[in-house]
Amino acid sequence: MPKTSILKLEIERISILDEHGNFDEKLGAGLIPDDDLVKLYEAMSSCRYLDEVAFKLQRSGRMGTYPQNMGQEATSLAAAYVLNNDDWLVTCYRENCGLFWRGVPMESILLHWMGDERGNAMPRAHFATPIAVPIGTQMLHAAGLAWASKYRGEKQIACTFFGDGATSEGDFHEAANFAANLELPVVFCCQNNFWAISVPGKIQCSAPTVAQRGIAYGMPVMQVDGNDLFACAYAVKLAAARARDESRPTFIEMVTYRLGDHTTADDARRYRDQAEVDVWKERDPLLRTRILLERKKLWDSSKQEAMRARIEAEVTAAVARAEEIVAPAVSDVFNYTFAELSPDLEHQRDTMQTHSLASEFPAATKGH
C-alpha cells in the first residue's frame, strides 16, 4: 500500500478590528451596533481603571493579592456580550470585565480579593461560577453545567475561560474529552496571554497554536485576535450557536497579552523584556476600540474626559461599599461547612476562642 495522507488540518484565524483601527466590514458588519460599542468601550475602560485602583489598594495594605486584568478585557467582555444572560460563565480570575457586564457588582470582586468569601457568593441570576483559583479545574465544571442543561433538554450553554498554562493541566484534557465525546454544549475560551506567571507559552505548548489542542479532541477550533472585541464576539457567537443548536463544543484560542504582572505579588520585570510589553501596549484592546469609535464620530476627547470622571466616581463608590462591609461573623468560619453542622462542629464553633476541658466536658472530670 502506498503512503497516503489521512488528515489535513487548517485553523482559521479571525481578526476584524486590528491594532491600527482597520475594520473588516465583511466579517464585522452588524456584529456590534454602535450604541453597544460605546457601552463596551466604557465597560473596558471602567475595568481598566479598577485595575489601577486595586493595585494601589493592595500596595497600601487595603487589599490582599490581586490579579490585574489589564490588556485582556476584550475576551470575556465579548463573550458576556454575545451569550444569553442565563448561559453559564465559568471563569478563572482574569475575567472581571465579562463578569461586570453580566451584572456582578464591582464590590463583589473587590470583596473577594479583600479576603471575604461573600465576594464569591454570586447570585444565581448572574449564572457565574465563583472565582476559581486552582488552575484549569473549572473547565470540568463547565462541562458538567452544560451537561445538566442537555440532561434537562434546555438550551442553556456553558462558556469557560482559562489561560494557556491551564491547557497543560490534565483537567483541561479531561474536560475537552468529556465535552466532545458526550456532546456537551461548551465553549472553551483559552486566553493565551503568553505568560503563566514567569513561564512562557512555549513551555506549555510546543505546537504552533494552542487552538490545535482542541482538534485532538475532535472539536472545531478557531484562533482569534483576543484584543479585538469584534473577533472575540464573532467566534463566541459562532461557537455558542453550535453549542446551542448542535450540542457540540468549540475551542477558541484568544491571543492576548497580560500587560501587568501575574498578580500584585509578582514582578514581571524579573523574567520578561520591556520591549515585548511595549509591542503589546500598542495592541491594547482599548486603544483600537477608541480609534474606531472616533472614526465613527461616536467618541471624542470631551466624551473621554466625561467618562473618566464617571468611572472614577463609580470605582470609588464600589471601593467604599466594599470597605464598608464589616468583617464576617467569626462563627461564619464554621457556618457554611455543611448545610447542617454536626454537634462536634457546633461545639468547635462555640468554643473556638477558648479551651477549657472542665467546662467543655464536665463529665470527664468525674471518675467512677
Binding site: 464569591n120 461560577t129 470540568l140 465544571h141 453545567l145 445538566a148 454536626s342 462536634d344 462542629l345
Partner: protein, 322 residues
C-alpha cells in the same frame, strides 16, 4: 422484605432514588451496559437508559469534576469511582472544589453529590484495588464519609447520602459485597448520616469499627466469654461521638479496629476523643487493631495485613487484662 446481599441492596436503593427523583443520574467507567465491574449498577442502564446511566471517558478527575458541575446546576449525580486506589486522580476536584464550594460561596453554590467507591482488601485484587483511604477524605472539611457494613445499612445510608445537600463519599466494602444476605425492606427508608449502630450490647469492653472489619469483630466477639459491646460507626465523618462516649463510659475499655493504616488513621481520632471525653472512666489504654503503615501488600499477604479475629481477640484480651 427481600433477602439481599450488599450489592443488591445498593442496586435497589439506586433504582428507588432514580424512580423517585428525576435529578438523580449515575456516571462512571463501565456503569452502563456492563452494570459496573462489581455489577452494582446491573440492569440500570436498560431500565433508565443512557441518559441517566452514563458511561464516561476513563478519567476520574473528569468524572468528579463534571459531577460537580451537574450538582451545581441542581442535579443529584452519583459518580462511581471504580476502585479505592483510583480516587487519587480525583482528589483535587473532591477536595479543592466539592468540599469547599458551599464555604467559598457562602452557600450560593452547593454540591449535592454522592461518590460511590468500592473500598478495602480481601478479594485477591491487583495493586491499588484494595486500599482503605477513608481517613484522607474524613480529614478534608466539607466532606461526609460513610461506610456501611450490612445490606440493610447500605440501602438506608445510600438513600440518605443521595438526599444529602452536601458531598458524601460512600465507601462500599467490596469484601462483603456478597458475603451474606439479610432482610432488606422493599420500602424506602433512610439511616441518618452521623449515627452509629450498636451491633451487640455488652458491659466489659467496647469494640469500635466500620466497614468489612465489623464482621471480623463479630467473629472475635462470638468467641469471647466476656460481655463485649460492638459499635459500627457506619459514618466515619461526622463521627457519632455521643455513641462512643456512652459506650466507653459504660465499659471503661475500648478496642478500635480498621483496615486503613495505623498512623493518623481514624482509630487515632477515636482514641483521642475517648481521652477527652472518658479519661477518668478508662480502665485500660485504648487498643488499636489496624492495617499497618505500609503499602497494602499484593494479595498473597493481604490477610496478614488486614485485622482478623485473632488479632482483634488479642487486643480485647490485652485491654481486659490490663
Amino acid at each position: 422484605m427481600a433477602n439481599l446481599n450488599l450489592v443488591q441492596a445498593i442496586n435497589l436503593a439506586l433504582i428507588q432514588e432514580m424512580e423517585r427523583d428525576e435529578r438523580v443520574l449515575l456516571l462512571g467507567e463501565d456503569v452502563g451496559a456492563n452494570g459496573g465491574v462489581f455489577r452494582v449498577t446491573e440492569g440500570l442502564h436498560k431500565r433508565f437508559g443512557a441518559r441517566r446511566v452514563v458511561d464516561t471517558p476513563l478519567a476520574e478527575s473528569g468524572i468528579i469534576g463534571t459531577s460537580i458541575g451537574l450538582a451545581m446546576a441542581g442535579l443529584r449525580p452519583i459518580p462511581e469511582i471504580q476502585f479505592d486506589g483510583f480516587l487519587g486522580p480525583a482528589y483535587d476536584q473532591i477536595c479543592s472544589h466539592a468540599a469547599r464550594m458551599r464555604t467559598r460561596t457562602r452557600g450560593a453554590n452547593t454540591v449535592p453529590l454522592t461518590i460511590r467507591v468500592p473500598v478495602g482488601g480481601g478479594i485477591h485484587a491487583p495493586e491499588l484495588h484494595s486500599d482503605s483511604p477513608e481517613t484522607i477524605y474524613a480529614h478534608q472539611p466539607g466532606l461526609k464519609v460513610v461506610m456501611p457494613s450490612s445490606p440493610y445499612d447500605a440501602k438506608g445510608l445510600l438513600i440518605s447520602a443521595i438526599r444529602d445537600p452536601d458531598p458524601v463519599i460512600f465507601f462500599e466494602p467490596k469484601r462483603i459485597y456478597r458475603a451474606y444476605r439479610e432482610e432488606v425492606p422493599e420500602d424506602e427508608y433512610t439511616i441518618p448520616i452521623g449515627k452509629a449502630r450498636v451491633v451487640c450490647e455488652g458491659n466489659d469492653l467496647t469494640v469500635i469499627s466500620w466497614g468489612a472489619s465489623v464482621l471480623q469483630c463479630m467473629e472475635s466477639i462470638e468467641k469471647s466469654s466476656r460481655s463485649i459491646e460492638l459499635i459500627d460507626l457506619r459514618t466515619i465523618y461526622p463521627m457519632d461521638l455521643d455513641a462512643i462516649e456512652a459506650s466507653v463510659k459504660k465499659t471503661g475499655r475500648c478496642v478500635v479496629v480498621h483496615e486503613a493504616p495505623r498512623t493518623g488513621g481514624m482509630g487515632a481520632e477515636v482514641a483521642a476523643q475517648i481521652m477527652e471525653r472518658c479519661f477518668l472512666y478508662l480502665e485500660a489504654p485504648v487498643q488499636r487493631v489496624t492495617g499497618f503503615d505500609t503499602i497494602m501488600p499484593y494479595y498473597k499477604l493481604e490477610l496478614n495485613y488486614m485485622p482478623d479475629a485473632a488479632r482483634i481477640s488479642g487486643a480485647i484480651d490485652a485491654a481486659l487484662s490490663y
